[in-house]
Amino acid sequence: MGAISTTDAPALAGPVAPATDERIRAAALACIARTGITRTTIDDVVREAGVSRATLYRAFPGGKDVLVEAVLGREVHRFFVELSGELARHDDAEGLLTAGVGGALRFLTEHPALGAVLVHEPGLLLPQVAFHRLGPILDAAAAFAAPYLRPHVRADHARPDHAATEVAELLVRVVLTCALEPTERVDPHDHASIARLVRQHLLPALTA
């Protein structure tokens, strides 16, 4: 790994070690958290990661666009892994909803890079989650959440799978709107505030 990160070896010199790949992604994330996506340059990332430009381009042959996409993909993956961990700990519907909505909201609102993009360049992110472009995101996130909700749909429901998916989609909308348009009524860091939202609105929607 030392040879790869300290020399400007040509791109044909072989694959980059996974640890280096990971270091570059982490560096890119740190740069984005500081200045947003537009102002982050390959040179910034190279300096932050302590690797050569050649190493970076060998790991991410398309350069910045490919790197940003890879970082994004990793963060989305991490989001779902962390959330599954939270959800697996709850058998009761109220605990599940509180952990899921609270955990998802905390991840999104505390994410330094996402926060920087929302502040510095909302025009880059918002068009990706609005109107017809929201459809695929709703579908993917609802497909993730529905199996957790399915056991809590009323036993006599005519279409329980369908109901679980509908409620999953509703929860995704609640999380996205509260993350992108924060409200004083839903505070991700105040457990009581999330629990109130769940008891008053989300649990009744799940058991309707």
Binding site: F131, E166, E169, T177, A208
Partner: protein
Amino acid sequence: MSRRTALDGRVLDATFDEVAEHGLAALTVEAVAVRAGSSRATVYRHFPGGRDELVARTIEREVERFFAAVVAAAPAAQAGLVDHVAGLVVAAHRLLQEHVVLQRLLVEEADAIVPSLATIQPLVASGLTGHLAGALSEADERGELRSDTDIAMAADHAARLVLSYVGSSGRWDLAEPEEARRLVRDRLLAGVVLG
């Protein structure tokens, strides 16, 4: 109407027509001035922010008109909270589909239009939240709500979801009044409306 207000209205009409005909990306203050029968200098005197201000004010005015049309098309709040809110969803969904200019902008110029909508979004959200808070209070007086309902929270929750579903209907067919009614009754207001 003062001369100033009349000119402002004409300039905003011209902005809307220019965008409708040529798209948002091609919009210039010059073209707006010509269409409004005014001069570039006069337009800048009334709208010092230039092109950006014209776009923001035109969107704002369209949103207000749109909101008024939606409320007018829905059954009155006295008819019952679920029917009223479902009516708002159906009307907003239909009017959005029928809004030719907005549709074209959303599909063809999403990257240009959505940031502008993002600045207008809080206005729409607070307008709708206020409207729903009023409708919820009236429903409460009629005995339609559970006694533990926090009206301000319910209005905030219902408003953000109505906007979300109207903007992207997902798996719901909001052209169907019965679908919209079920969405509102079972998912949006499930916790506040008495069975």
